[in-house]
């Protein structure tokens, strides 16, 4: 049982860690688009329901 636990724990660690690193390396295009829309709506004073 302990062996299974350790294996699973290791598996989680190995899977989560690269995921965190990946997030910080690749440009989050969807998030950037969302942020851009919010800023543009504010600057141009558009209604956010418009799009």
């Amino acid at each position: 049982m302990r062996k299974i636990l350790v294996t699973i724990g290791l598996l989680v660690f190995v899977n989560i860690l690269p995921a965190c690193v990946t997030i910080n390396i690749y440009f989050p295009a969807a998030a950037a688009e969302k942020a851009a829309d919010k800023i543009i709506e504010e600057v141009w004073q558009l209604e956010s329901e418009e799009e």
């Binding site: 724990g9 965190c20 997030i23 910080n24 969807a30 998030a31 950037a32 969302k34 800023i39």
Partner: protein, 140 residues
């Protein structure tokens, strides 16, 4: 017993998935520098809006604005509009740089500029002019 432990571990793993997603969900855009730039651009927009409508000023493909048809601006106002365009472009470039910096990735500046250039054009009102990738002007 073994089965129970496995289920608990699985539950813990699954419950962590939303946290992984959360990190990608938002970009930091609320630093004082960014807020200042937004306000500066917002107050300038009132001055620039008539020129977007008349087609004197258009949105460029690289996320800035440019004088498209100087002849449609009364001579007396041309200098003023020029200075608005220059100031707006300075703010826009600073905005892209600041967003990249606020998210600890200065190298994202170019990607942010590309994203913004598409979104400005996408959210532009009908009748405004924008530049296509081959530098020709089109009307929305």
């Amino acid at each position: 017993m073994n089965n129970v432990v496995c289920r608990i571990v699985l539950l813990v793993c699954l419950s962590m998935i939303p946290f992984v997603g959360y990190a990608t969900a938002n970009l930091e855009v609320n630093t004082p520098a960014i807020v200042n730039l937004k306000q500066s651009m917002q107050s300038r927009h009132g001055e620039l809006a008539p020129y977007y409508v008349s087609g004197a000023v258009g949105l460029t493909y690289d996320g800035l604005i440019a004088i498209r048809d100087a002849n449609s601006i009364p001579l007396a106002k041309r200098q003023l509009v020029n200075s608005f365009v220059a100031a707006e472009n300075q703010d826009r470039s600073a905005l892209y740089r600041e967003i990249a910096r606020a998210n600890s990735h200065p190298e994202w500046e170019k990607d942010i500029r590309v994203t913004f250039s598409q979104r400005w054009i996408n959210l532009a009102k009908p009748g405004w002019w924008y530049q296509t990738a081959n530098s020709t002007w089109a009307r929305k």
